[in-house]
Amino acid sequence: MNDVNKNLSSMILEHFGKDTVQIESLKPGLIAIHASSEKNRDIIKTFLDADDEATLSAISGVDLGDSTEVLYHIRTHGTIVTLRCIVPRNKPTIASITDLIPGANFHERETADFFGVTFKGHPYPKRLLISDDWPEGVYPLRKDAEIPSPETKAEVLPEEEMTTRAEGTRTVKIVIGPQHPALLEPERFLVDVDGETVTKVTPRIGYCHRGVEKATESRTYMQDVYLVERICGICNSCHSTTFCQAVESILDVEVPSRGKFLRTIVLELNRIQSHFLVLGHAGHEIGYDALFQYMWRDREIAMDLTEILTGNRVITSFLAIGGVRRDLEEKTKPRIMEDLKKLRERAEFYKHLFEEDRTVRMRTEGVGVMDKKEALSLCVVGPVARASGLKIDVRKEAPYAAYGEVPYELISRTEGDSWARLLVRAEEVLNSVDMIEYAVNNLPAGDFKIRVPRRVAEGESISRVEAPRGELFYYVKSNGTQSPERVKIRTPTVTNLYSVIKLTEGGNIADVPAALVSLDPCFSCTDR
């Protein structure tokens, strides 16, 4: 237990006394607080008051048989504090914290969908991830849930929001999605428009939810590495790294430092290609197709580098529990350096373009402004948070892989608009190129992988990785068998997406795509 955690736990004990809360320490250096379900709001409020930059990272549920555990993962002082509240299965009710942290909205709805927990006082308690024709009363992540056959479909009630416009108002409802040229994946945003002004946005996700969290419970840890990698095609290595780190922490094994460096290289390559993808896509959204085509051409350099390193262009299958699966050959280093040089040149050009181009700035500056306070209350992470002046980055606050050693620079801006969010990404690409260059040149000798047992002892752990879109959060609980008991995956987009309501309401209809793309929403991550 380090100093921060000691201070935190003594603070909690002082506040509530030993009768209400029990403190246990979790690996790696995290603390968990046990408390009764009535105290959840008080404890969370104490954390929010004690630290200006405290916010909610995730809410997850675990089925304990006759009761359900609700876990609040709070990020404070650069670490994660987990609050555990147990609610009985027959009356699973807990108070909502959306009035304390509006960003908890989606997290609570997700827990309600999967575990049947009722969050009292939630402003919009509707389904978020499971489909409208899913039968009432079946909660898929409960261990005894009987998953209905695909033919069983409940009656779908017409949503009142979808009805045509009310008499006597000037509002027109525009449906962006599930199929729309601005979206690459099926999600729906119901936009109320008065003339060209957006008055209300209602997002609905879950159009291609695949139940990965449930699927991990019936597969071995080894298979799960490949399964979680397929959650997202873009940040695939981030998913497998986070999962491997969580399992390694339960197993209590240390990855050899060559393995850590190779992980860093593949993670940064992931970031480069993801940022190029979204910056190009931003060009398309604001009607700048030439930029779109050029950025996607130059993204190929990063894809080629990924192929040299891992043997695959997209889904790398590079990570393994205990290290990585392939070594970097000495003879490929000159080619890598040459490509990195090209990549840096292009990245510098694009950074210059986003800084200078007049029409790009006209379309993105002042669009979807979110200040630091709002960013905290909406629980945004990654480049979105950094563009609003929040200096949060897992690579800095809890270095994993080789991030303690490679030259890293936290890039943040204070404008908080779409332009800042895009520019932060453009600058991060340059930093990533530096890190890869350093990691390749200073690759330590030795093993890149150690052997680990297939059976994982009972335990639980939290793992965080800074994916291209922000903090990727995994909570893994093992039960002593070959398969995990519970894997909670909180992708950056789930927590970032709620802020789209704040970013677009009151703006122009033409700004909706520009604001949405600046969040870099990845719906296949969302529908994990």
Binding site: P181, I286, M362, R363
Partner: protein
Amino acid sequence: MVSIDLVFFIRSLLFPGFLFILLMSLFYDWVTRKVEARMQNRVGPNTAGPAGIFQPLADIVKLLAKERLVPHDVRSLAFTLAPVLSLAIFIFTLFFLPIDGSTTLSGISFEGDLIVILSIITLANLFLFLAGWASTNAYSKIGASRVLVMFLGYDIPLVIIALTPAFLANSLSVSTIATSQSIPFLFLIPWSFVLFLVTLQAELEKDPFDIPDAETEIVGGYETEYGGTGLAFLKLAKDVQLFLGSALVVELFLGGPYGPVYFDMPALWFTIWFILKVLFVVILGEFIANIFARLRIDQVLSISWKQVMPLSVVSLMATLIVAFWVLPIIGVGG
């Protein structure tokens, strides 16, 4: 009078009338697609015909062969007629422009036909608006209202700038303006030419002004509900509009169909010069379209009223100075 009738039919239907206009429009459509593709590091159409030159024609043929669907809520008459009428009006307007040295039909040109052309173009835009308004679809309606709002922004500057060559030529007839350019007006009043190109981009709904059919915002804009023949006519109308707009630039600023060199058969050479000049304008327009992001509708309005509008008035005044004091000194012009 048989021979006159024959000439009338050939000139109106074949050359330089209907067929020629359609073929040239499809050709320039191919040019824009190819230029756009090359500027974006793509290949562009490359399958139908040499270098894909028949691709626009193939697209139109494909659309014409499709089933005609009319959604049951639309205002049927307007929905059906709007694309046909806008196409017809654009083609009709081109009849006023001297393509092979004289207008399509002899004697159609008159003093003041520039005003008629400009007002007919406005009317055709109204039909595009009608196309969107007739379809009961939120995207179409927003697209349609954007056509009108855009029109508020750029139409007045367009008319003012289109009148500046008329002052130099001392005539409101397009044919006279074209013939009186012993030096193309581009070189005398380049500021007007630049302004006209900018407003033309807005008129043609091309980047940075392709707001009425911004696909990432409102899908297809006013053409969302169209398919099959209706869409074919809309696409053709847009193609002819591109040809018309570029041809107007050629007539007003680039000396019309008259070129520096020609040999026997002046009509043939006039046509060749005309095609080349229009090609220049089309490529220039496509170049502009590809180096900007799409603006927002409020930005277009504020740019056009705060910048383009005053500039066009200033440009008109500068042109008057050129017309009354500079031209007599160097001894050119009408």
